[in-house]
């Protein structure tokens, strides 16, 4: 579990995160959503230690991150996996070498053992026969899957995903979401996903935090978001008429006013 208490972060005069508190639970997909510039990426970078918050505290399973020694932080970071927006794969290495890199750096296993583990995780993310390819030779969706494989190869306790669906088609986005959800449950890890993809919100958002201009504007689950009366949240999530209609349909479904298994062909006759 990760707990954030009254985090503040600014750059110069501009305050990017203002007094944000939240709890990210283990075994759940915790989503941070918000418009561009709302502070969600900065919040995530504070969580993983890439940015030092100006004030406030972050607790990893009750241990204060700011009070940890450099050595302790290093140990913790080996239990953190992160999927970056652009995948951040090492260009000069093949897919296999990319995934094997954390094993090379932090384990003393033989090559055969490491290769077995690499193939296991590549198999887990449905990537076979891509071992010898370079990042430049694979698609965006494949890169994300390699990124996930690299993030989970050391069996992390915490998984951070920064906009995992950006630049992907809707079908691949759904696959990535499904994969993140499955891995979270399977490995019982604390997953924090930074996104503005509405499909992700509805599909995997066990716990959702909506950020607006550096403040936590709303918090709840993907079931609660449908019934939320928060104006800013509704304007952000259900921005288009189509999404508003979809929301209305889902509300009617959840209230039992229309059948979940309705036959659309019959209704449209």
């Amino acid at each position: 579990m990760i707990e954030v208490k009254n985090i503040k972060k600014g750059f110069g005069e501009k305050i990017v995160i203002n007094d944000v508190s939240a709890v990210f639970e283990t075994g759940k997909c915790n989503l941070i959503i918000g418009t561009s510039g709302s502070g969600k990426t900065v919040l995530m970078k504070c969580l993983v230690g890439l940015f030092e918050p100006d004030s406030g505290e972050i607790f990893y399973n009750g241990q204060s991150f700011s009070e940890m020694t450099e050595e302790h932080r290093k140990e913790l970071r080996q239990r953190i996996g992160m999927l970056f927006q652009g995948s951040a794969l090492f260009d000069s290495m093949t897919v296999e070498q990319n995934v094997m890199f954390p094993l090379d750096m932090f384990t003393k296993d033989t090559y055969a053992v490491k290769l077995k583990r690499v193939n296991e995780v590549l198999d887990r993310v449905n990537l076979k026969d891509a071992n010898k390819k370079f990042p430049a030779e694979i698609s965006g969706g494949m890169k994300k899957r390699v990124g996930i494989a690299r993030a989970i190869v050391l069996n992390p306790k915490y998984l951070f995903c920064d906009e995992p669906n950006s630049g992907l088609d809707p079908q691949t986005s759904l696959l990535i979401d499904k994969l993140i959800k499955e891995i979270t449950t399977e490995y019982n890890i604390t997953t924090v996903v930074n996104t503005h993809d509405m499909n992700s919100v509805m599909e995997i958002g066990d716990n959702i935090i909506y950020m607006y201009q550096g403040l936590k504007e709303w918090e709840g689950s993907n079931k609660e978001i449908i019934f939320s009366k928060n104006k800013l949240l509704n304007e952000f999530i259900f921005a288009s008429e189509f999404l508003q209609d979809a929301k209305d349909m889902r509300m009617l479904e959840m209230k039992g006013k229309i059948d979940n298994n309705r036959n659309m062909d019959e209704l449209l006759k």
């Binding site: 993983v48 230690g49 890439l50 932080r73 290093k74 140990e75 913790l76 970071r77 080996q78 953190i80 992160m82 970056f84 927006q85 652009g86 951040a88 794969l89 090492f90 260009d91 890199f101 954390p102 090379d104 750096m105 932090f106 951070f160």
Partner: protein
């Protein structure tokens, strides 16, 4: 003010490089990779520059030595000392500032912009130690070797040009090479090579590592690193000459 901020950041970067490696084998592998990249990668241009540098020195020295009172072997003496004292260490290092420096700056800049450095940080790796230190050490090991190779090839190029154009015979050139040779000059050349190697690897590493933005900024950082490295090489050249000669 900006200069002091940058200089302070540069010193902190150097200080930050010295930490215990997470895995010695991986660091050694990276060091050897950098030795190959910097050494083998620059060998071609060093060979070409050195041969022509020596050849042109011979022709221009012969052009200026018109007095029949000065023996022809003096040409070889002048070529030898010019190549060892100045041309090989300084000229080659200025060229390497372009070749190696821009490569280091753009490689690190690209890694920074594409979040590869962040990915390494999150894994718990000290990126300054893993990415900068091997480049710096490899440069310090390999560049003086390139300077020595350059000096040998420069003198050989001078001999070749001298004999091919009929300015002086091979025997006269060899005789001149042995006259008044001071081994201290080689020490001086190596002292310069080590100093320049440090400059042309650490300055681009600094500009590349702290780059912010996108492709345009990587280009700017790369150009700036080459310009600053060249100016510092020339400044250090003057300083070392004043102190050691």
């Amino acid at each position: 003010m900006h200069f002091f901020t940058e200089f302070g950041q540069y010193l902190l970067m150097l200080k930050g490089m010295f930490s215990k490696p997470e895995n010695g084998k991986m660091y050694w592998k990276e060091f050897m990779h950098q030795c190959s990249e910097i050494g083998i990668g620059s060998l071609g241009i060093v060979v070409i520059i050195s041969i022509f540098m020596g050849a042109v020195s011979t022709l221009q020295t012969a052009y200026q030595l018109v007095s029949p009172l000065i023996p022809l072997s003096t040409i070889a003496q002048i070529v030898r000392d010019t190549v060892i004292l100045e041309f090989s260490p300084t000229l080659v290092c200025i060229v390497l500032a372009g070749v190696v420096g821009s490569k280091i700056a753009s490689e690190l800049g690209n890694m920074r912009v594409s979040e590869q450095i962040d990915a390494l940080e999150i894994m718990g790796i000290n990126t300054k130690t893993y990415l900068i230190l091997p480049k710096l050490l490899a440069s310090i090991v390999v560049i003086p070797m390139l300077v020595v190779i350059s000096a040998v090839l420069g003198i050989w190029g001078g001999r070749l040009a001298g004999t091919m154009t009929g300015i002086l015979s091979g025997a006269a050139f060899d005789k001149g090479l042995h006259q008044y040779f001071k081994p201290y000059n080689v020490f001086f050349a190596l002292a310069k090579a080590y100093t320049f190697a440090f400059i042309i690897s650490s300055i681009p590493a600094f500009y590349g590592y702290y780059v912010r933005g996108g492709a345009l900024e990587i280009g700017r950082a790369s150009t700036r690193s080459v310009v600053v490295s060249c100016v510092l090489v020339l400044f250090a050249d003057y300083l070392l000459s004043a102190l050691l000669l």
